[in-house]
């Protein structure tokens, strides 16, 4: 089984031998101009070391092709068809949430329209809130619009009419006309892409689908061809989706929006799998890399989803895993604010020039420089010594830019940088927990990415999270996640009405329609109907509330008693999240959801044999590290991770080094190596005890 994860700088490859569970990892440089080349280079590297193409039984891939197209404004020229008279829906962007500074800055600008007004055509038609046709579709308007857009050389078109989630007939008919008049265009219908209430997020999401759809289409077809050229013939070739599931590469062109967050999603999947095998029900995945940190919650074994995503200011309502990203990574820059205080981030020195200690001309002190000066990283430890760093450059940068202006010595300044970046991560995580009504004391933190295991001990202690789990290969954990999930698709349909008055027969019909579509699409994707697992949810809210919550719904013909069970489940959830509920008040149904899951082969983490002797076999030395709590350097033992084995127990302060990461064990913390080789750190849970508010 092979997982290939394309990132901004590197493309990671993980190959697992199914029979033995042994795996190889490798990195090749990404090729932004033609990302499929890096994928093929990665695959070539694997085939070059003796793996036969016909031994590749399963290939899963995470891509940033669509994300980059949006970030760089390089999607296709697309057209948009809307209900006549509603050009301001997109122009206004009624969801925009400017930053605190933009809020009061008269130089504020909104994100650019991906389809300009000149490529937007108004169509006479109207459906009302109940789905009744008020004005029939003017088909001549559609034909005229198509002709005008043909003259403008568009290659894709989005259609978003008002209330199309309640009645899609006008959009469907429009698509028929377009397919006849302009058969080469890719057509995105809002009633297919996101059939839920609220016209602006639905429109923005549909426009994104049109804007990047042809790009993903071309990418996957080229990639599929090149994979076959390499004689890899397995039909099990998948793309990772933002929802944490896979989709077969043959259908990926239909769901471009689902690739937008595939990188972070793979990390969450890997965390979910680690949580499962280690028996943790409540987990935070903490992925800290060079430029940013991704945080996500797994509650009672379940990943959390959001429908309020945003990429480069573009709103996207497609369901995706809820991942909080903040500008906190190894390359994050420390600076002095206009208020005279030390600031860290969100700007990053990136990979080039990178931290000052890299010696590539970076003048700004970064988090990595501070970690080096405090002894957490050793000059030899980065990438197993492959990458040399220079502590004197780190010292100079921290002294010149931070220490001298603030009247602090280099150690104080470096410790300040770490305290502040830790504070940012702590706040972001605490908000994530509190907004979901979660008690951190029930949680384990799963730390990965190059820098995650270095900061996890502090982060967990600050939040009273009792355990930290550091996987065997923190640096490629995301890529491993590509091999640890199912095929997943969500089907949504808004239908708004009071729960008490909503006919159960209609509820059952709506679910049945969504399920029929799920089964049909799964068959089109090449799976037998019997392989599909379907689960149902409804989104409920109290009347007049603006936010809805998802509640599980039984998968059978519904009876009136089910409605009161749904209401009670909703009341309980509301109480847990917001500290109050209104059992006496009616609830409103907003959206019906069906989740289709289809099992595919998954990588199973191998168990490792214990070794003789004590952890001292892995001891490689001792060095002085800075204890943030005591404010002084203390002696710490240094271990080689590869020589640790299950049942080993280590006591902090200690540093555990490996090729792709460094783990810090603080004083009074203890780490045990579990049967998979993961480090389980017991933090002692000191620090902030504010609980879950």
């Amino acid at each position: 089984m092979v997982g290939i994860d394309t990132g901004g700088t590197f493309t990671d490859i993980v190959a697992m031998e199914v029979r033995t569970g042994s795996f190889r990892i490798s990195k090749v440089p990404s090729v932004p101009q033609d990302p499929s080349t890096a994928v093929m280079n990665a695959l070539g590297e694997l085939l070059g070391v003796g793996v036969r193409p016909d031994e590749v039984s399963f290939l899963s891939h995470g891509t940033t092709v669509a994300t980059n197209a949006i970030l760089e404004g390089k999607g296709v020229r697309a057209g948009l068809l809307i209900t006549k008279g509603f050009r301001a829906v997109y122009e206004a962007r009624g969801w925009s949430r400017p930053s605190a500074v933009d809020l009061i800055d008269p130089f504020y600008q909104k994100p650019p329209l991906l389809v300009p007004q000149k490529l937007t055509e108004e169509i006479e038609e109207r459906v009302d809130f109940a789905g009744e046709v008020v004005t029939p579709l003017n088909e001549d308007d559609v034909r005229r619009a198509v002709r005008r857009l043909q003259a403008q050389d568009v290659e894709a078109v989005a259609v978003c009419y008002l209330f199309s989630f309640a009645n899609s007939a006008h959009e469907e008919r429009t698509a028929e006309i377009i397919r006849r008049e302009a058969p080469r265009w890719r057509v995105s219908l809002s009633s297919r892409v996101l059939p839920v209430i609220r016209e602006y997020p639905r429109l923005s999401t549909t426009v994104l689908d049109a804007y990047v759809g042809p790009i993903i289409g071309r990418y996957v077809s080229r990639l599929a061809d090149r994979i076959i050229e390499q004689k890899v013939r397995t039909p099990q070739v998948y793309l990772m989706q933002s929802n944490g599931g896979l989709m077969r590469i043959t259908v990926a062109a239909h769901f471009p929006n689902q690739t937008l967050l595939s990188g972070p999603a793979a990390g969450v999947v890997a965390g979910t799998e680690l949580a499962r095998v280690t028996g943790e029900s409540h987990v935070v995945t903490f992925d800290m890399g060079g430029t940013s940190t991704d945080l996500s919650l797994i509650i009672e074994g379940r990943t959390q989803e959001t429908s309020e995503g945003r990429i480069a200011g573009q709103d996207i309502g497609t369901l995706m895993l809820e991942v909080r990203t903040l500008g906190a990574g190894g390359g994050t820059i420390a600076w002095i604010g206009k208020d005279g205080l030390l600031k860290v981030g969100p700007q990053s020195a990136g990979a080039d020039p990178g931290p000052a200690c890299y010696g590539r001309g970076g003048q700004d002190p970064t988090v990595t420089d501070a970690n080096l000066l405090l002894g957490y990283l050793s000059p030899e430890s980065l990438l197993g010594g492959k990458m040399r760093v220079d502590p004197t450059l780190a010292r100079d940068a921290v002294k010149r830019r931070i220490g001298d202006p603030l009247g602090l010595n280099v150690t104080e300044a470096a410790a300040g940088i770490i305290r502040i970046v830790n504070t940012h991560m702590e706040i972001s995580l605490r908000r994530a927990l509190q907004e979901r009504g979660q008690d951190p004391r029930k949680y384990a933190l799963i730390a990965f990415g190059g820098a995650g295991p270095l900061h996890a001990g502090c982060l967990a202690a600050a939040l009273s999270i009792p355990r930290v789990l550091v996987p065997v290969h923190p640096g490629i954990t995301s890529a491993l996640g590509l091999l640890q999930t199912h095929v997943k698709h969500s089907y949504l349909q808004s239908s708004v009405g009071l729960l008490s008055r909503f006919p159960v027969a209609r509820m059952s019909t709506l679910f049945a329609q969504l399920e029929a579509r799920a089964v049909q699409e799964a068959q089109e994707e090449g799976f037998p109907a019997t392989a599909i697992r379907l689960t149902r949810q409804v989104d409920l809210r109290y009347l007049h509330q603006g936010y809805q919550l998802s509640v599980d719904c039984p998968a059978r013909t519904l009876a009136d008693t089910d409605k009161s069970a749904l209401k009670q489940a909703f009341d309980r959830l509301h109480d847990r999240l917001y500290g109050q509920s209104a059992p006496a008040e009616d609830a409103e149904l907003v959206t019906f959801r069906v989740l289709a899951e289809i099992p595919v082969p998954r990588a199973v983490l191998p168990e490792l044999p214990p070794r003789d002797g004590t952890p001292d076999r892995a001891l490689v030395g001792e060095r002085r590290i800075f204890d943030l709590e005591k404010g002084q350097f203390v002696a710490a033992r240094v271990y080689d991770r590869t020589r640790l084995a299950p049942r080993d127990v280590l006591a902090g302060p200690a540093v555990i080094e490996q090729f792709d990461s460094t783990t810090m064990l603080l004083a009074r913390q203890e780490a045990r190596v579990d049967r998979f080789g993961n480090l389980m750190i017991h933090t002692g849970g000191a620090g902030y005890t504010g609980g879950a508010g």
Binding site: R87, L103, V496, G546, G579
Partner: protein
């Protein structure tokens, strides 16, 4: 207490976190469409004296009213009479500085070891608190008693729970009691959450540290603003703007005038030249007017300076009592919004002369709101539909203004058409960009919009916008924008132009069209690159006719192509025809 810059930064971030958590709780437990779609509310913390330290939420101008609300509570309940677990509410603007009666303020004192160390405060708009019309803000109001229920600071919650008597009075005075009480409880909850979190922060870092950080935040804002002011030339400049009328005396424009005098590191804003307080409801209480003026000062200096009470230390106000920006009880206030927006625009115009690098053309005037009372909404209950009416930003030295956005506080509170029609018996017939609504300029203003409603049931409509006569003005050769207008039954023989401020009973089938102004232009329109004008025409922002008349760009109607030769000639002639 002197602290190291690292602990300061850590605790500062933690205070920001508390305010953000309060804001989240406010918006996520609120009931009414105003809170959930318009985000017309804020939450934050003051110090023990009531000075605002941090405010989170859409409307940053709530900063100074927080102070007056806390002082209002303390004036009625001496500090010694406050107990742990108390939450107070107040909405009388003359007793709490809040802009108008529907804005309710909750105040929760924060105790640490028996001592008051801070106040957690929230201001949020309520859908209806009685008064002349649904939504409470009637055009016909002539004194504050017409604006709805006036609560002095009262104890609404204690450690034992809600004060049922107070809640019963509020319920009894609202057309939509469930929604109002739901939102109010959300406000109470968010301030109590903030109080608990601040106590936990003191446990962690010590109350002395927390106080030192609060005081550093205020002094840093003051000193950063003073440092900016030092770079400006010492001078005295002025600016003025007009509202069409006050809603009562329809022939008398209302003047906002400011003299901005900068000396050293001190700025004085003198509003003595403004009109006296009005009979109609356009008055704006002085704390609110000052807060708007301070936002304009920040806009013209450095918007990264945190909004807090430190601003007041660097800016001195001269506002004689009895002006439209300093009305005296019992003047009515419900339509303060366009006045406050004009105060902001006029101050920005004045101080922009002192700091030309950050001068921008004004946003479109005429912000306000629309409220419709339905006897039976789709749920069968009486409901009030309330929508903020925004405009667009003016052009800047760098780019065109942003389209369709609230000026001063740049969010876009457009309630989805699909939500409106699902909840109320109304059909939205248009939500369109308004061609030629933006002021022309080298960088033009943002584009305004048209919104048209067909009411499907009898209802009571109050429109509260403004500036249908006096519009915005251009900067450095740019042009002002087209003025807003509101028409009942447009394009029909029964068509009637409404003023900016009217309440009327409508029968089913009536159509109302609101056109909201674009932003003003920056720089001479003839300097705008021809290609950008052509694109504006293609995008429908500018008509072919306006391209010729305003920008001197001649475009052939049939082909859409620019006639380069006549354009050149036209632009050289300066546009005379």
């Amino acid at each position: 207490m002197s602290l190291d810059p690292i602990t300061m930064e850590v605790v500062l971030n933690r205070l920001v976190e508390i305010a953000a958590a309060m804001e989240h709780a406010l918006y996520h437990s609120g009931y009414s469409p105003i809170l959930r779609e318009s985000q017309d509310g804020t939450a934050g913390l003051t110090d023990a004296d009531g000075r605002i330290v941090i405010v989170s939420g859409g409307l940053q101008y709530h900063s100074l009213p927080y102070y007056h609300a806390v002082r209002g509570v303390l004036a009625r309940y001496p500090a010694a009479a406050l107990r742990e677990g108390d939450t107070f509410i107040v909405n009388d603007p003359y007793k709490c500085g809040s802009p108008h009666v529907p804005d309710m303020v909750t105040v929760t004192p924060v105790f640490y070891r028996g001592e008051i160390i801070a106040f957690a405060v929230s201001v949020a708009h309520k859908a209806d608190v009685g008064g002349l019309v649904p939504g409470s803000s009637g055009a016909g109001a002539r004194e504050i008693f017409h604006d709805g229920l006036l609560l002095p600071p009262v104890r609404y919650w204690t450690a034992e729970g809600v004060n049922e008597a107070v809640e019963a009075i509020i319920r009894n005075n609202s057309r939509v009691p469930d929604v109002v009480i739901g939102d109010l409880r959300g406000q109470v909850g968010c301030t109590r959450l903030g109080a608990a979190r601040l106590v936990a922060l003191c446990d962690e870092y010590g109350v002395g540290t927390m106080r030192a950080v609060m005081s550093h935040l205020l002094s840093s804002t003051a000193s950063r603003l003073r440092a900016e002011l030092r770079h400006w030339p010492d001078a005295s400049v002025d600016a003025e703007g007009f509202l069409d009328h006050d809603g009562a005396d329809l022939e008398a424009p209302v003047r906002i005038h400011v003299v901005a005098t900068k000396e050293g590191d001190r700025l004085t804003l003198d509003f003595s030249g403004s009109s006296g307080q009005t009979r109609g409801p356009v008055n704006c209480v002085s704390p609110a007017a000052q807060a708007m003026a301070l936002l304009a000062v920040l806009a013209a200096t450095d918007p990264t300076i945190p909004v807090n009470a430190g601003l007041v230390e660097a800016v001195h106000f001269v506002i004689p009592p009895g002006k439209v920006v300093s009305p005296q009880f019992p003047a009515t206030l419900n339509h303060y919004f366009p006045t406050s927006h004009l105060v902001y625009s006029v101050v920005l115009a004045a101080v922009g002369q002192l700091n030309p690098d950050r001068a921008v053309a004004p946003s479109g005037l005429g912000t306000g709101a629309m409220a419709v009372g339905y006897p039976r909404a789709r749920s069968g209950k009486p409901m009030v539909q309330y929508e903020l009416m925004v405009t667009a930003l003016g052009g800047t030295s760098r780019h065109d203004g942003a389209s369709i956005v609230l000026p001063m506080n740049h969010f876009t509170p457009s309630t989805p058409v699909e939500v409106i029609e699902t909840e109320y018996p109304v059909r939205v017939k248009r939500f369109d960009i308004w061609q030629d609504s933006a002021g022309a300029g080298q960088q033009r203003g943002g584009v305004g919009f048209v919104r048209e409603y067909e009411f499907l049931d009898d209802c009571t409509l109050t429109v509260r916008t403004s500036n249908h006569r006096f519009g915005s003005w251009g900067l450095r050769g740019g042009k002002g924008s087209r003025t807003s207008r509101t028409v009942v039954n447009p394009d029909s023989p029964k068509s009637e132009e409404l003023g900016p401020l009217r309440t009327l009973q409508l029968t089913a089938g009536t159509v109302v069209r609101l056109q909201q102004s674009g932003g003003a232009g920056y720089g001479a329109p003839f300097e705008r690159p021809v290609e950008l004008v052509r694109e504006d025409v293609q995008n429908g922002y500018v008509s072919i006719r306006a391209a010729a008349e305003e920008y001197g760009v001649i475009i052939a109607p049939h082909t859409g192509e620019v006639d380069a030769e006549s354009t050149r000639a036209h632009r050289i002639r300066g546009g005379s025809r």
